[in-house]
Symmetry: C2
Subunit: 356 residues, 2 copies
């Protein structure tokens, strides 16, 4: 079993190093191979997703990804910017199903900006379609405005689209995930305005016939954004498109106040996947040894479970993370009075120790 | 001065009735003319935006709008559904600038699901472009997928687009609004993925040159959704497109916990406008006399200020609303222990009394 390790930029290398330490501390050893991606890819090979990196990701059984992006690349042409690496990996590997749990660890309830009674025990799963929608739709660009009151001016434009099969496959993933949880699925759309999402709603409704044990409801995206703030615990599983999912999954993660704890998985049709923390590359704290490695370590656990079928090893890691939290260890992002502040490496070491 | 009164559906008629009572209690009398819209328009004339209603709105100096929508119209063809009325009014009247304040009244701090220290004193203004973007872009529909792995299947599609002039005019509105406040403007985009919003960012940056006294920053929409949850008070004015604005303005409103208090204005190039509460038609509580009329009453105040230039009258109404809150009067949506629960009419009467 081979795992591609793509640390990326900013805090990526230091947090991925901790996850690698944890993987190396397991009984079973996996083949780990590292390659540059994002700004690091651009520095090493002139492209955010160097050919050799893509080839490694394609050949591996799973990918552990850190984070990409740094202000210093903001002035590059868009195709050379770090975030193109993650878009390219998703598209090239066919990683259409993004699973983002938003879980509030009981020990970290205080970190949330929401009142404890609103978020304590929060456990929702957002499933975001990841290879379609306005992220990849063609045509797109800047052109001369063809009609209307602004005719003849320049205009920026993009195409939103979802084909039937694309909606069906993500709906199946979502219904099956709901079956393993509280059997409630909320499909988020904007069917009252967008043709794409009226179509989405119709297809999800049709797929529902195959999952009579799951309760399905439909919610407009603006309302979903409100309900996440008002009563997030009412949700079980949410499924939505790429663009709405980008916004809602980040909002949901932030409800916990501890986005440094949240892993994510991006899966293809055969459960091959890319695993990454839900947070970004945080260039402002890179190299300072203060970043929280737990989201990346938990991403490695997801990798073991979903792509390698090593449920037991995954659980060992998850229990080790719970143990270090119970010991009171906290990186600065989740630190509060009465707990012990530790750095990135110390946290990684503590997880390794807790594995035993 | 003529005001078109469009009560609409659900709680629309009862809350608009209170605002009308308040308008009639002012020293100066305005000509008020009522017409059906939304589901009520469909019932009366077979269309959510009957011709006579549109003509009235066009002829009037301003429009006071209640709310539209009811589940019973969900099965109608989309062009006949209530929400088409509001889209049609925006487009036909050229109401491109939607101003949505998210303000937390000190007396209502407890209503928020966020911790008091995170939201107390919240006062942000979201400016949403309202007649462009993927809401109106052509082409759109369901077609045969022209290429890619789903070629030949049906696909839903829509077009996102913004012309230069559309971005310029909303940017001017936003910079000028910021000049009257804390002089900080956040432009929300998704320039890292969308051509439309890279273009948006470039144009907003260019318009900024005319407003050197305003500090401009750019934020990705997913990050904006997070920052609204994490530290909403850091924002002053936010400007964004129609689709992102739909989502973010509702999220921002919900941060206050008292969306029943929040008015909105949708303005054309000459400050003619449509004014409506930020909440919806709430068919579940329609006719029960429990809906909060204050957002609609405050919308009437915005109408007086922005479209009729009656600042003094607007302020009188706003002060009357503050007075009834200080008296401890609360509709059920904002009621808490120690305050006096009142119904829709009582609340309207109390505002009229407080005008004196
Ligand atoms: C970096 C960016 C292109 C990306 C996205 O929008 O998908 C990020 O926000 C994410 O959610 O992984
Ligand atoms: C009813 C709907 C079409 C509308 C919109 O999406 O603009 C509403 O959500 C709003 O924000 O006024």
């Amino acid at each position: 079993m081979k795992i591609a390790i793509l640390p990326g930029d900013g805090i990526g290398p230091e947090i991925v190093a901790q996850a690698v330490k944890v993987l190396n501390a397991l009984d079973e050893q996996f083949e780990l191979e590292t390659a540059p991606v994002g700004g690091a890819g651009y520095e090493a090979a002139g492209h955010p997703l160097p050919e050799a990196t893509l080839a490694l990701a394609q050949a591996a059984d799973a990918v552990l990804f850190g984070a990409v992006g740094d202000w210093k690349y903001d002035t590059l042409d868009r195709p050379l910017r770090p975030e193109q690496a993650i878009l390219g990996l998703r598209k090239n590997l066919g990683l259409f199903a993004n699973l983002r749990p938003a879980i509030l660890y009981p020990e970290l309830a205080g970190a949330s900006t929401l009142k404890p009674e609103v978020v304590s025990g929060l456990d929702i799963l957002i499933i975001r379609e990841l290879t379609g929608d306005i992220y990849f739709g063609q045509p797109r660009g800047v052109r001369e405005c063809p009609d209307g009151p602004f005719k003849g001016q320049r205009e920026g434009f993009d195409t939103m689209r979802y084909a039937e099969g694309e909606i069906r496959r993500i709906a199946h993933v979502a219904f099956q995930a709901a079956q393993k949880r509280d059997k409630r699925l909320t499909s988020v759309d904007k069917a009252n305005v967008l043709e794409t999402f009226q179509f989405w709603k119709d297809i999800v409704t049709d797929v529902h016939k195959e999952y009579p044990d799951v309760a399905l409801d439909h919610m407009y995206v603006d309302n979903a954004a409100m309900q996440l703030v008002r009563a997030p615990k009412k949700f079980d599983v949410i499924v939505t498109g790429n663009m709405f999912g980008d916004i809602l999954s980040d909002a949901a993660a932030m409800l916990t106040g501890s986005i440094g704890m949240l892993p994510s998985a991006s899966l293809d049709a055969n459960n091959k996947g890319l695993y990454e923390p839900s947070h970004g590359s945080a260039p402002d704290i890179a190299g300072k040894g203060v970043a929280n490695p737990l989201a990346t370590i938990l991403s490695a656990a997801m990798l073991l479970r979903f792509s390698l079928g090593r449920d037991e090893q995954a659980e060992r890691i998850e229990n080790a993370v719970k143990a270090v939290l119970a010991q009171g260890l906290r990186t600065p992002d989740i630190h509060e009075a009465g707990t012990t502040k530790v750095g990135t490496e110390q946290m990684g070491d503590a997880v390794v120790a807790a594995l035993a």
